[in-house]
């Protein structure tokens, strides 16, 4: 039964259903209180969590987002129910941490993860095109490394308790969200009183949506980066069908809810500095490809026992701290003064540095694994 269900969910139509579900839920979460064109955004929401914990002090982006908690716990529930919870770790964790940090710096230069790039486009924000183009460029570069033998080595099975660390961290975050303890005078936990961090759907709606998305995404292996990678690498449209469904359904849902406004300039929580939208997401796309999954997928993997994916997530959260403490993140367009936003000089340096670091990782971490012949005992 479990086996049949596994095939059922892994089929094309299930991916379309998962993408369509996210495409409906994200605009509805926006309607329920989440920020505009940000019904769901893994990078932004992890950035908000970093802020709530005081890892950065940008007062407008601080909140413990229950969606992120739901993603991990939903994936955990699915993995346990279908006996796919397998603890594993040890595939170059520190490299994954660094990739996570730079992926976040790149994503925040654009102001969103691949999910938000899709949702921004579905809300009429045409800067999403630059973001997705950048993502494709980054993934295409990553694919060249994959083709030439890049990989971070094998992970290894380990103690079951290791796989529970990320879910338990998420339960801890949920408790902090519910009780919001004050750890010192003027200290965390911080929740924004204005700005995007102050926009949020009610706790249980956010958590419920996150759990549902986490469950479906674990079953279908939904991955935005993987969808582009598989098309470039082998012409496989399996994953991209889910992504297409997400955009189409989110666009229709946004139309029905009156949440569509076409244009480049002055879009909500977005800037129209085209070059840095493109380069920021190119950095993120390259880092995701080198790490084997988009930020959503890394969360889902961390819920099914993948300790290395958990390290990537923690790298992203720390990267968000750097992005805001060092003023590297994008600044939205200023509509009142008609000034195009973008990123600071430091932000530009960070994006370039991130690209260089990713290229060094791609060039320096190549190891050939071959099929082994029983006849000769050697590699083929």
């Amino acid at each position: 039964m479990s086996e049949r269900l596994t095939r059922f969910f892994a089929s094309h139509s299930r991916l379309i259903l998962a993408g369509a579900t996210i495409g409906v839920l994200a605009p509805l979460l926006q309607k329920a209180g989440n920020p505009p064109n940000m019904g769901v955004c893994v990078a932004c929401f992890e950035r908000d969590i970093a802020g709530a914990l005081g890892l950065h002090r940008a007062s407008v982006v601080q909140y413990i987002r229950p969606e992120i908690i739901g993603f991990v716990l939903g994936a955990l529930i699915a993995a346990l129910a279908f006996r796919e919870f397998k603890t594993r770790t040890g595939s170059a964790p520190i490299v994954r941490f660094v990739l996570g940090a730079f992926a976040m710096i790149g994503a925040l230069a654009f102001l969103g993860c691949p999910w938000r790039a899709l949702l921004r486009l579905a809300g009429g924000d045409l800067n999403g095109i630059l973001g997705l183009a950048g993502l494709a460029v980054g993934v295409a570069i990553g694919v060249q490394f994959l083709k030439s033998g890049y990989n971070l080595g094998r992970s290894h099975k380990t103690y079951p308790a290791v796989g529970w660390i990320m879910p338990i961290i998420m339960i801890g975050l949920l408790l902090l969200r519910i009780f919001r303890p004050q750890f010192s005078e003027g200290g965390p936990i911080f929740f924004s009183e204005s700005g995007p961090g102050s926009f949020h759907a009610p706790l249980w709606i956010s958590l419920g949506a996150g759990l549902l998305i986490g469950f479906l995404a674990q079953r279908t292996r939904f991955c935005t980066m993987g969808s582009i990678r598989d098309v470039i690498l082998m012409g496989d449209t399996h994953l991209v069908s889910g992504v297409g469904a997400l955009v189409a359904v989110a666009f229709v849902t946004n139309l029905l809810l009156g949440q569509v406004s076409f244009g480049f300039f002055g879009q909500p929580m977005a800037h129209s500095s085209h070059l840095w939208n493109l380069l920021g997401m190119a950095l993120a796309g390259l880092a995701f490809t080198l790490a084997g999954g988009c930020p959503g997928r890394q969360l889902f993997l961390s819920g099914e026992g993948d300790g290395d994916a958990g390290i990537f997530v923690l790298g992203m959260i720390v990267g968000a701290g750097f992005a805001h403490n060092f003023a590297l993140a994008g600044k939205p367009d200023n509509v009142a003064d008609a000034v195009v936003g973008g990123i600071s000089i430091a932000g530009m340096v960070a994006v370039i540095l991130g690209l260089v670091v990713c290229l060094v990782i791609g060039f320096s971490m190549r190891r050939a694994y071959h099929a082994r012949s029983e006849k000769t005992g050697g590699v083929i």
């Binding site: 994959l146 094998r154 082998m234 399996h238 084997g292 099929a371």
Partner: protein, 69 residues
């Protein structure tokens, strides 16, 4: 004679890349060892797309895929 691709512990998409390379260069049958259901399904799909037949054997909590023409 069997050729074996040990893709256990390798993250996505390495198992698929190694399998595709083996299908292009090695003699059949090819055995592919993986440890997650995700890798199992990805390898199965890639092999079937390449026109191969795939048999799957569970080995404890790991899987062996036997790929043949």
């Amino acid at each position: 004679m069997t050729n074996t691709v040990d893709a256990r512990g390798l993250s996505c998409p390495q198992p698929v890349i190694l399998t595709r390379r083996a299908i292009q260069t090695a003699e059949f049958p090819i055995e592919v060892l993986v440890e997650t259901v995700t890798s199992r399904e990805n390898v199965r799909r890639a092999a079937e797309k390449a026109g191969c037949r795939v048999e799957i054997e569970a080995m404890g909590d790991e899987f062996k895929l036997i790929i043949s023409r």
